[in-house]
Symmetry: C2
Subunit: 450 residues, 2 copies
Amino acid sequence: MTESPADLIITGCTVLVYDDQERIGFEEDAAVVVRGGLVESVTTAAAVEGAPAVERIDGRGQVAMPGLINCHTHAPMVALRGVAEDLPTEEWFNDVVWPIESNLTEKDVELGARLACAEMIRAGVTCFADHYFSMDAVAAVVEECGLRAHLGEAYFSSQGAQGREKSLEFALRHRGGAGGRITTALAPHAPYTVDDTDLTATAELAREHGLSVHLHAAENRDQTDASLARHGVTPIEVLERTGLLDVDVLIAHGTGIIDRDLPVLERASGRTAVATAPRGYLKFGWLTTTPVRALHDLGIPVGLATDGAASNNSLDVWESMALTALIQKSTTGDPRWLTSRQALHHATLQSARAVGLGDTLGTLAPGRRADLVLVDLTGPHTQPVHDLAATLVHSARSSDVRTTIVDGRILMRDRQLLTLDVPSVVRELGERLPVLLDRGHGRRIQDYDT
Amino acid sequence: MTESPADLIITGCTVLVYDDQERIGFEEDAAVVVRGGLVESVTTAAAVEGAPAVERIDGRGQVAMPGLINCHTHAPMVALRGVAEDLPTEEWFNDVVWPIESNLTEKDVELGARLACAEMIRAGVTCFADHYFSMDAVAAVVEECGLRAHLGEAYFSSQGAQGREKSLEFALRHRGGAGGRITTALAPHAPYTVDDTDLTATAELAREHGLSVHLHAAENRDQTDASLARHGVTPIEVLERTGLLDVDVLIAHGTGIIDRDLPVLERASGRTAVATAPRGYLKFGWLTTTPVRALHDLGIPVGLATDGAASNNSLDVWESMALTALIQKSTTGDPRWLTSRQALHHATLQSARAVGLGDTLGTLAPGRRADLVLVDLTGPHTQPVHDLAATLVHSARSSDVRTTIVDGRILMRDRQLLTLDVPSVVRELGERLPVLLDRGHGRRIQDYDT
């Protein structure tokens, strides 16, 4: 036992734990001891009675579990939430989002990121993988608000070699930033906007610098069909032939992954992960979703995500967790597939692996980073509790998260944000919206043409 | 102008209103004046400045809209929330739910109903259509908690003629109860558990007594296929041949409605409505959902519902609203179908029609019952607002409802329930659960055999 006071002790809560075979259990009337940003122990409430601590939280009636990880988003796009509704993918990109994004300034990105981080902290997200532009501004917001993030500066081949150089420069400069809370990735946009030369160069840079790559690929079936028609290969096969499956890669969406991609992905198992954001697939009217079951059978982690709020309308990873379970059941026609425990496994360990933090996050165990949330189960909608995993996934909501903690620091306590001022962000962003939304110039940052 | 003080004036809010073609609009900086349980007027905040009122609510930053209507539930089943997870429909009924329901007492139903009403009030539901057993207990809870309800005592043909007689007796005795907040229906369970003789008798009783009928039909495609194989007719055709489509009928689910049913339903348009509870269809792994578009084309209202919490895990009609939009887009493959405004139309006017209250509920207009909710849009997840309908449907959550009002009476104010005591209900229900959940007796109330 250490004699100095712990930084934080949470007592009386139920703790979601994993056994050595990654089976979920729930320790009741337990305690979590936090020191130096790490979980020091998960023990009984009795064991820490009277133990010295700088801060104590009474966790009775609450579940302590790993904070949620948003494995693929474009956080600053909350500024465009609701701006392009009920449109097919192509019109969404070409007529609204990419024209508006040609107006983006670093200040817009900063304010959007701040609003997004407020939303995520309130929804129990402790880490997010962001893929956007002007990412210096996002990194600064991460530093300020206390979240953990896996950041990549997005680029298109239309930017020339400068795009990928900027992405590399960002990744090297910010790696390990914010006291180690920032990790980085190279971030080519997608195989339909970044050519093979750039993808190949990106794979080489990743290997040379020990970086991972985060990109969109096989987002939907149309993209896969278009790739086959034009190049004779699928987007996943493009990743393979450009060397991206030889490095650590996080693939966003993958609803266009088809059977012939599976052996390709199997060879990349251990380096590859997929992020699924099912709400947006439904909203765009796509007929497929991420093939979670096939990826599971290949041992490929599937992390949960929200994509940007311009398509998803929210950054609610809790909802992604519930929807992943529901949509997997309905698309496989198998009510036994993707149980609540599986959904929680995706939300915790698999999401941690997806963002390259499988050794430090994903479970509350000694030596892991103290990124956790307390979920209040006393509301009428979460009672009675017959099956706690089901209560968490199918009855609880992100609004039941009362407290959000990253690296042992409390970012939200009893629903009060401690590091961000929402009204001032909303006001400042609101003043900028007329200029940001102007599409009179007829420009767009890129064409969507799968 | 009346000179006596209004009962309630809500000022400064944005009000969801309909024009005479049922197009949604939003009146900003508006006010709602309530008198005698009715909406007296929807006007400007300026017009009611200084106007006398017994009670005033500052609605700034909030949207006033009609309260949600849960068009098909089994409220007391919240007691079984999470008890039968990840199971196919048949096992869910035969191995868990129907054995447990054979233990049900009136006290269990009362406590379950109380917990359910607490959950619904907190989620912005102001009226629910309940279809269950021991409904006297539910009616008493409705009286006590202030909600509005459309109640029916469920029955199977296995109960003999007593079943339908009890259902009739309940409907006649409680009609107009709780100061007019209770309306009633005859409630045969479904065509696969109630025979044609009973269904025909029910239709006759409905006509004779001016009652509507609320039942399950064509819940899923398997039921339709089984009905065709056994009887040569679909469940909807069973309703037709037994006369149920000649009276006002509320059909729960209808995911097994097939093309040949459409002309049958078209002939019943004006008397027929369908309740959709999409979450459960996904969870059971059903491959179809309610054919909302086809029903829309026939002019048949589709109300939103949650079904019971034993299958749906929650009574969150707000989630049903979002899911209806999302699942309609994905099953039709058309992102333009079922816009946010359509979803709000389903949640308000169509749901009111579905429960037979189309003339008194569904819109905040002079003379309508004052059943409304105030939705807080100041949270980071609902900002900025570019499209208020989209914000409500796709970004807001039931937890953003701050205030719930029925017949002008405030049932929840600033998230505090005023008519129900959740901790005591949870405690009392918890003590009864071991006996309620016992399945050692090997009985079940009914066999599921479509």
